[in-house]
């Protein structure tokens, strides 16, 4: 049974400096509100895990939260680069960023292995690619039946996973619909899980059939955060703010403009702590 907390309380209670943290949501339901709360609380030294870092990790990396990034595609979808990510990797600002780089397939398999309590996942992957040469977390095994060499990746086991979902019921069961990405796996793979939701309802109305539900006993904290996925979207609630994704390119290109944006749009919102880690 999860605790129903404010977002600030949930982050302060369950996210610790140095944690391996996964904020998941594949284009859809990206937990921006929770990411901003992490910036506000000045949490640092995090290992950020996410298939598609997207604007949310660009903001957190620029905000000085991250020591390391585990990822598989680090761009602004349909727009271009993540300039804060690039600045950290190419020029070490605001601090150097260690990378552990995978393919999508590897990350998806690694989350699934984490959810399944396995130490690793195997798949037919990375064939002919240079990625295994630069990432020691990519190994291989030989199929005992066919002799085929298969790629192996260690299971992902975040200390904390944070996702945004459409709704929870009053017992704390969570429903996700639409593009569901790896959110369920990220929650089930984690030691602790925080879910932000658009709303709390009396009944999820799943009818017992095959809706994608996280039972209450898999979640540690639920925080109501309407609009918590903006500028990404929540199927059935609001649409993606494509204009902001485009606008972000200009904001993030410039360190000062980025700092002002964080001060105005993150730090002064929700009565946060003293300042971002870089300030």
């Amino acid at each position: 049974m999860p605790e129903f907390l404010s977002l600030a309380a949930a982050v302060s209670r369950f996210v610790r400096p140095g944690d391996r943290v996964a904020l998941e949501g594949f284009t859809h339901l990206i937990p921006f509100a929770a990411g901003h709360e992490i910036i506000r609380q000045g949490l640092t030294d995090l290992t950020l895990i996410r298939m598609t870092p997207d604007l949310i990790y660009d903001q957190m990396i620029g905000g000085g939260c991250a020591r390391k990034l585990v990822f598989s595609w680090g761009g602004n979808p349909g727009v271009g680069s993540l300039h804060r990510l690039r600045d950290a990797v190419e020029r070490g600002w605001p601090r150097p960023l260690e990378l552990e780089e995978h393919s999508h397939s590897a990350m998806a398999h690694a989350y699934a292995a984490g959810a399944a309590g396995m130490p690793c996942a195997i798949f037919r992957g990375y064939l002919g690619s240079d990625l295994p040469r630069v990432n020691p977390a990519i190994q291989s095994i030989v199929c005992p039946f066919t002799g085929e060499t298969l790629a192996a990746v260690a299971a992902l086991r975040p200390d904390v996973s944070i996702i945004h979902a459409q709704r929870a019921d009053r017992r704390g069961n969570v429903l996700i619909t639409g593009i569901v990405g790896v959110q369920k796996e990220a929650v089930l793979a984690a030691a602790r899980a925080i879910v932000t939701v658009e709303e709390i309802v009396d009944d999820l109305e799943t009818g017992g059939t095959n809706a994608i539900v996280l039972p209450s006993w898999t979640v540690h904290a639920i925080a109501v955060a309407p609009g918590g996925a903006r500028p990404s979207y929540a199927h059935g609630y609001y649409q993606r703010d494509n204009a902001f994704y485009t606008e972000w390119d200009a904001i993030a290109r410039d360190r000062d403009r980025f700092r002002r944006w964080v001060d105005d749009e993150v730090m002064r919102v929700g009565g946060g702590a003293a300042g971002a880690a870089w300030s």
Binding site: H28, M51, E90, Y126, G128, I179
Partner: protein
């Protein structure tokens, strides 16, 4: 009447033509998405589109800005979790065509979307693999769509993100791959196909008005031409109007200039 069109339009139309009703496409964002949806709106209405966000058989009315726009889900037959997409659908060998691009391609269709320069200290940090590394080996065949330029069509990749025919053109078989690898490159200047003997990409058609010298100038290796290079059929009025309608609908929907 003279039909005028841009190089981007030529490239999109040429890519769209390579698809047919039996194809099941793993679609990337940007020009591949425009090409796939153009094919669906013109000669291949039964074309099946799959996006890595998990949307199976999606029929968007406007082009998505991201790989996981709501439009893709709302118009899909069903939407599956991302692990399932990579396990059962891509790795399961169900996809006939995957579209890829990158910052660099070599003569054997190997692709770099990871870094320019050294991996540890890159000059330019690119987005990385995303789905590409396993799309390159899991789809029956790969179409590469990229703008021609000497910094993109290179003698040697800075990093091999996604396997084409391998560094010597012959690595796929040694790796046990049954899939074909890249069979087509479409650029804003020409279309290219691998030589059946060497797997080196050769120019097979030049877009109208493009000279062999232009292609040479924009290719970082000593590019070869097929013995019977033809002119690419220019975009036809129905293709152009379908494409322009699609892009206009998309721009209106996104409230901004959209993907190509």
């Amino acid at each position: 009447m003279v039909v005028t069109y841009t190089a981007s339009e030529m490239m999109t139309v040429a890519a769209a033509r390579a698809l047919d009703n039996n194809d099941i496409c793993f679609v990337g964002i940007g020009l591949p998405s425009a090409a796939c949806n153009l094919a669906r709106l013109t000669h291949a209405p039964q074309l099946t589109l799959v996006y890595e966000s998990g949307t199976l058989e999606t029929k968007p009315q406007v082009l998505p800005l991201s790989i996981g726009d709501g439009e893709l889900c709302e118009t899909a037959l069903s939407t599956v979790p991302v692990p399932e997409m990579f396990q059962y659908w891509l790795q399961g060998g169900r996809i006939t065509v995957g579209f890829l691009g990158g910052a660099q391609v070599d003569r054997y269709g190997n692709l770099n979307s990871t870094v320019i320069g050294n991996y540890a200290r890159p000059t330019v940090r690119l987005p990385g693999s995303g789905g590409a590394t396993e799309i390159a080996t899991g789809c029956r065949r790969i179409y590469i769509v990229m703008r021609h330029g000497a910094r993109a069509f290179v003698e040697k990749l800075d990093f091999l993100t996604s396997l084409g025919h391998g560094p010597t053109g012959r690595e796929r078989r040694a790796l046990g791959l049954q899939t074909e690898g890249p069979t087509l490159i479409v650029t804003d200047l020409c279309t290219m196909r691998p030589n059946p003997e060497t797997n080196e990409f050769e120019v097979v058609t030049l877009h109208p008005g493009v000279s062999p010298a232009q292609v040479r100038e924009h290719t970082g290796w000593a590019v070869r031409f097929h013995r019977d290079v033809e002119e690419t059929l220019p975009p036809q009025p129905d293709e152009l109007s379908a494409l322009r309608d699609l892009l206009q609908r998309t721009a209106r929907a996104h409230g901004s200039a959209a993907t190509e």
